[in-house]
């Protein structure tokens, strides 16, 4: 069987997943395609039927010319009118049957293969949603998206054509070959002589084409990423007038795609050329040899004609092998790319060990407790210190703890551990006495709600964006929860001013709203489900002072009864909290009230006020104006 190398040498400027460029994995194209079986299984009966129908239809297509010939040679030439009627009747019957079989085959495969494509896309989407955040950090959107579209398209096409016709054509060639040998074995041998070199050429071709196809598909993924970023970053592009630069970058990448596609075309041209040339040469040789044999009287002219007719009938099956192989090769590559993602282990649902580790070290009431928590990003370079190096922190039940630290000190990382977006590499986190690692992620996330630093909204209505924070129950209750959450976030007013109120769509990533508006909706989303534990990552950064003060007042009521961890950059936010924890060097270095730390901790004082030294500098700066 043709084997191919999955050495991928994509040399694009764009970030793509490191995994897919890991170099030489030798895998058989057939094995890649066999992995489709679980998805094909449900429609296997129809697919096999369709293949059977295709064989019968091909046979009919062969029979019809024979009937025509019989009609001409027999009844027509003998003036047998009855025979002509009979032949015409056969012809009509066969023709109708042929048309119906063609239709039947297409009807058999059309819905099922569309269903296979859809099922695979859905499986990919499901799986992708459940892959750890660390996976998404590594993989560019475009690479995943191209797998869900172009690659699946290729796979569906493979099921419709190459799979069936490689079989049908292969069988035709074998049967035809046997027929040729039986008719006249010397001529048959001459005609079949190119088979061996053709097989060699085909396998070499497949290997190379597979590589080119892989690269092309990866490059399309990169292209997709650039398009996505060009839209999401459109404000930057416009703000700096860089659309020409972006267009150039895109152009280069599109040029690279073109280059790879041309390489594919060159390979295809070569194989197609060879596939035409060699059989034609063999045919010519057979013709010359046959002519000699006829001249010598070893062979009748009729046999030679019959022999050559059979040979000509084999022309299409042989010619087509080239592009059928190319399609299969591309499909195998698509399957590899698809299963690369599907094989990524989803976050393991390890939790829910009843009893388990919950008992030891349990405090009554609990709250949110970090014990010796360490974390390093999976893709951090070896040897670099972990982001978190032993965090010990106890947020008492109902208490609000502010988390303060310099830019880049790991505050956001620490908060991401509570809803288990990442798991600590050492140590443990307990919530109300239950080790988070023993809970399923589902459970953990039911208990915890987060307002992210980046207030990402989805392109749906305001109401849906907020309610996805977990308000369940009847519509009336949901509506009440929505109102309450919007009030807490001081978003009622601006939402009411939107064209359709809470039913207004917010556009991609909520981009039709201002930063402050997005942030308030994200806050509303976090509080709407009245979570046991609330994580707020710099929740008021984009608000103006006035709004900030009002949100604070409303938020205080919520925080009074909730265990909360609030990342804070400024005193106004810190004042929401009962106590403050200072994160530095991957550890909590101080815990206390705001005023206590301001007095006792120089680092904290510097973070909160810029420090005395800095203050002087600032004045100098001002004087300098």
């Amino acid at each position: 069987m043709a084997r191919r190398t999955l050495a991928v040498m994509a040399t694009t400027t764009c970030s793509t997943s490191p995994d897919e460029r890991t170099g030489a994995v030798r895998r058989s194209a057939v094995r890649s395609l066999l992995r489709l079986w679980p998805f094909v299984r449900p429609v296997r009966v129809r697919l096999f039927l369709a293949a059977g129908v295709a064989v019968v239809a091909s046979c009919l297509s062969v029979v019809i010319p024979l009937v025509l010939k019989w009609l001409v040679d027999g009844p027509v030439s003998h003036g047998d009118t009855g025979g002509v009627w009979l032949g015409g009747g056969y012809l009509l019957l066969l023709g109708v049957a042929e048309a119906l079989l063609f239709g039947l085959r297409r009807w058999l495969v059309s819905r099922p293969t569309a269903a296979v494509e859809a099922a695979m896309r859905e499986a990919l989407y499901r799986h992708m949603q459940r892959l750890p955040v660390a996976f998404h950090d590594r993989w560019a959107t475009g690479q995943l998206l191209s797998r869900a579209t172009t690659d699946l398209q290729l796979l569906r096409l493979f099921l419709v054509f190459p799979m069936t016709f490689l079989l049908v054509n292969g069988a035709t060639i074998v049967v035809g070959g046997v027929l040729l040998l039986v008719q006249q074995w010397t001529l048959g041998l001459v005609l079949l002589a190119p088979v061996l070199p053709l097989m060699v050429v085909c396998s070499v071709f497949q290997a190379q084409y597979g590589q080119a196809a892989r690269r092309a598909q990866d490059q399309v993924g990169d292209l997709t990423t650039v398009v996505e970023e060009s839209v999401l970053g459109i404000r930057i592009v416009k703000g700096f007038g860089r659309h020409r630069t972006q267009a150039r970058a895109f152009g280069e990448l599109a040029g690279a795609v073109r280059g790879t596609e041309l390489r594919k075309a060159r390979l295809l041209a070569a194989i197609w050329g060879v596939n035409t040339l060699l059989p034609e040469l063999a045919l010519g040789a057979a013709l010359v040899l046959g002519t000699v044999q006829v001249a010598d009287g070893q062979l009748s002219a009729g046999t030679l004609v019959a022999f050559l007719s059979t040979a000509l009938a084999l022309r299409w099956p042989v010619d087509s092998i080239g592009f059928l192989l190319a399609m299969s090769s591309a499909a195998a590559t698509a399957a590899d790319r698809y299963f690369e993602v599907l094989d990524e282990p989803p976050v393991a649902e390890d939790g829910a060990a009843p009893g388990g580790r919950t008992a030891d070290g349990e405090q009554p009431g609990g709250g949110l407790v970090f014990e010796g928590v360490e974390f390093r990003y999976p893709d951090a370079p070896p040897g670099s210190p972990p982001t978190l190096r032993g965090v010990d922190l106890h947020v008492r039940p109902g208490e609000t703890m502010a988390l303060v630290g310099a830019t880049g000190s790991g505050k956001t990382t620490l908060t991401a551990l509570v809803p288990r977006l990442y798991d600590p590499t050492a140590g443990r986190i307990t919530l109300d006495g239950r080790d988070l690692a023993t809970l399923t992620r589902e459970e953990a996330r039911t208990l915890v709600a987060v307002a992210f630093e980046e207030p990402t909204l989805f392109s749906t209505t305001v109401a849906e964006n907020v309610l996805m924070g977990g308000a369940d129950g009847p519509a009336a209750e949901r509506a009440a929860a929505l109102r309450r959450a919007l009030r807490v976030a001081q978003a009622e007013e601006f939402v009411a001013a939107l064209p359709q109120g809470t039913a207004t769509g917010v556009g991609e990533q909520g981009m039709t709203l201002s930063g402050g508006q997005r942030q308030r909706l994200a806050l509303a989303r976090a509080v709407v489900g009245r979570p046991r534990c609330l994580i707020l990552d710099d929740p008021l950064s984009a608000l103006d002072v006035h709004t900030e003060a009002r949100v604070e007042a409303a938020l205080r009521e919520v925080l009074a009864s909730t265990t909360a961890l609030v990342v804070a950059h400024r005193p106004s936010t810190v004042l929401l909290a009962d106590r403050v924890a200072l994160l530095s060097g991957g550890r909590i270095v101080a815990v206390g009230t705001h005023h206590q730390l301001l007095r006792e901790n120089a680092q904290y004082a510097a973070l909160m006020s810029g420090g005395p030294a800095r203050a002087t500098e600032r004045h100098e700066g001002e004087d300098g104006r």
């Binding site: 027509v76 002509v84 630069t245 099956p317 710099d538």
Partner: protein, 635 residues
């Protein structure tokens, strides 16, 4: 001569609804384009108005530069087909000439036969090679051109467009829709040439053999043409629907990926699964419809052809029996008849990829027909040379009014002048119009009335490049592109060298954290800058702006995610960097505002207070109230 059936399965590859996902922008249901400036739903439904004939014009303009190559490919294919069809002639020659000659001891004709066979094999193979390469080259160049056009045009379109169109749809246009055209270019030409050629050839032969049979055969083209029309209509509909459906799938997919953290944190997976399943099922349905349309066409056309063959044979036989037709003619005509109808299925293949591509082209044309809301000037003016030693420029809003097209006035008519070199802070509640003011000055939008001028030149008269040398805006969302930190800073000025990039980072206080990253300035920021914290991203955004070195700098809440030391550092840097520059600073932190030369307080789209910060703070207005609140919060 006997049959030369090529044996290609008429049901062969290619003729499935195999279009890649096109994305048709269906105009209104009645087939007429939606009126321009149509309802906002046009975006939601992926229905941008496409002028009549725009997709055809687009295809024409794409192919025009490659006319030569396309013709060369067509000629190569013609010759290739001729060579490939030579075998029957060679067999005839072998039997009629070579065999008798050989028996007579003359090897000449045999030699001729051998050479001719070798030649035809070489020509068939060689031209096949040439054709595939030529057509691929033309096709790929067209695709490159089209992709470039889509991307460049999208980049020229305004923010208002992108806010509604979404990246998913644009991705759909630039990938799956382009892919549909590629299919047409790669296979379409070949199919079309073959179809036209063999139809012409065989029709002529039939007419020559017998006028009656020939005309009768040609008459059967009428029902076939009707079938083709019907197929085109239904397949066009199906492909349009399908392309809209795949675009919706892509939009959903992109959005989930972009917001994976909130998706997981809020346990949206099951709800998303359900929503995605719906969209996916719609696509599956339309996908199946498109393929079935093709299946129906294949049945119909094949049926018509086979019935016509049977009828013609019977009619011929009847005429032979009555002596009106020579037997040999019927024999030959019968054998050719079948081949006459062979190309029908290939015609189906061609039509199929054509419809798929047409639906996609329609969507692309709809996108390309969108006019940028802030067009580049036809005759750009240059800014007057800057005053020596003073990098700033004067900014003036003259009789400016701004409202959205949908109605709703954001900024009522006002006049405002910012002195060259001054730093002006704008404060006010959300929705007061601060950002709109900045966006007008950055020319993200054009005012509904009046002019925004820099040193007396209307922004609308400046070329894009001149505008960005003059005005740069730093926003709160410091979006980072994939690539290194250095790449992202250099976006401010692509020709800057590493020292200048580092200089900008140092000036803003970002150098230390960048140097501490694993690969320093060459660290990949990962997807959307995920490796950096929000504050760090804002610092990179600032460094980018410093590097751009504009005369007028707009800061829209650009320090919101910085901690206090970071903000102080930025302020210090700005103190030096802004010196002499004109700056408009929108800030929520009054710490930033205090160092401004002038403060504008906005409410409901109007400037309600205007003065030096100290003077306003000492008064009894809104600013004074804000100032007191802030003082208290700092404690």
């Amino acid at each position: 001569m006997t049959t030369t059936e090529t044996g290609r399965p008429v049901d062969g590859p290619g003729g499935d609804g195999c279009g890649t996902d096109p994305s048709a922008a269906p105009p209104a249901a009645d087939g007429r384009p939606v009126p321009p400036g149509g309802a906002p739903d046009a975006f939601e439904a992926d229905l941008l108005p496409t002028p009549k004939g725009a997709s055809r014009a687009l295809l024409g303009s794409l192919l025009a530069p490659h006319r030569g190559r396309v013709w060369a490919a067509a000629v190569a294919l013609l010759l290739q087909q001729a060579a490939a069809q030579a075998s029957p002639l060679l067999v005839a020659y072998a039997l009629d000439r070579a065999v008798p000659a050989l028996r007579a001891g003359d090897r000449g004709p045999l030699l001729v036969l051998a050479v001719a066979a070798a030649l035809s094999a070489a020509v068939a193979g060689g031209l096949q090679w040439v054709f595939v390469r030529l057509s691929a080259r033309a096709g790929q160049d067209v695709l490159l051109d089209l992709r470039g056009r889509i991307f460049r045009h999208a980049q020229d379109l305004g923010l208002d467009f992108h806010e509604r169109y979404t990246s998913g749809r644009l991705i759909s246009r630039a990938t799956t829709d382009v892919e549909a055209l590629r299919e047409l270019l790669e296979e379409g030409l070949q199919e079309l040439v073959t179809v036209v050629l063999s139809t012409l050839y065989i029709s002529a032969l039939l007419l020559w053999l017998d006028l009656g049979l020939g005309v009768a055969a040609l008459l059967s083209a009428v029902p076939l043409a009707l079938l083709v029309r019907a197929f085109q209509r239904s397949s066009h509909r199906a492909y349009r629907a399908k392309s809209t459906a795949i675009a919706a799938v892509i939009v959903r997919f992109t959005e989930t990926l972009g917001g994976i953290r909130p998706v997981q944190a809020f346990r949206r997976e099951p709800a998303n699964d359900a929503a995605f399943a719906d969209l996916n099922a719609r696509h599956r349905q339309f996908n199946g419809d498109a393929i079935l349309a093709m299946a129906r066409f294949v049945v119909g056309s094949r049926m018509t052809a086979n019935v016509a063959i049977a009828a013609l044979v019977l009619w011929g036989a009847y005429r032979v029996a009555t002596g009106a037709l020579a037997l040999g003619v019927l024999a030959a005509a019968t054998l050719y008849l079948r081949r006459l109808y062979d190309p029908i299925d290939r015609l189906g293949v061609f039509l199929n990829s054509y419809e798929s591509a047409a639906a996609s082209l329609e969507k692309i044309a709809g996108l390309l027909a969108q006019r940028p809301s802030v067009p580049e000037p036809a005759l750009p003016r240059a800014l007057p040379p800057a005053a020596p030693g003073r990098p700033g420029r004067e900014v003036a809003f003259r009789g400016v009014r701004f409202g959205y097209r949908t109605g709703g006035e954001v900024l009522p008519r006002f006049d405002l002048t910012l002195a060259a070199g001054s730093t002006v802070a704008v404060v006010g509640a959300t929705g007061a119009g601060k950002s709109t003011l900045a966006r007008l000055l950055a020319r993200f939008h054009d005012p509904s009335e009046g002019r925004v001028e820099v040193d007396g030149v209307d922004l609308r008269e400046l070329s894009g490049a001149a505008l960005r040398r003059a005005v740069v805006m730093v926003t709160q969302e410091a979006f980072l592109f994939s690539g290194t930190v250095a790449d992202n800073i250099a976006l401010g000025r692509p020709d800057a060298d590493r020292a200048e990039v580092e200089g900008a980072a140092r000036a803003i206080g970002a150098h230390d954290f960048i140097a501490a990253l694993p690969d320093g300035y060459d660290t990949d920021v990962r997807k959307r800058g995920g490796r950096l914290s929000a504050g760090q991203r804002q610092l990179v955004g600032f460094a980018r702006a410093l590097l751009a070195d504009p005369a007028v700098l707009l800061l829209d809440e650009a320090t919101s995610s910085l901690d206090i030391p970071g903000e102080r550092a930025v302020q210090r840097a700005m103190g030096a960097v802004l010196h002499g520059r004109t700056a408009l600073v929108i800030a929520h932190r009054l710490s930033t505002v205090e160092s401004a030369d002038r403060v504008l307080v906005m409410a409901d789209g109007r400037v309600v207070e205007d003065g030096a910060p100290a003077a306003l703070a000492a008064g009894h207005g809104r600013y004074a109230a804000l100032h007191r609140a802030w003082r208290e919060s700092v404690g």
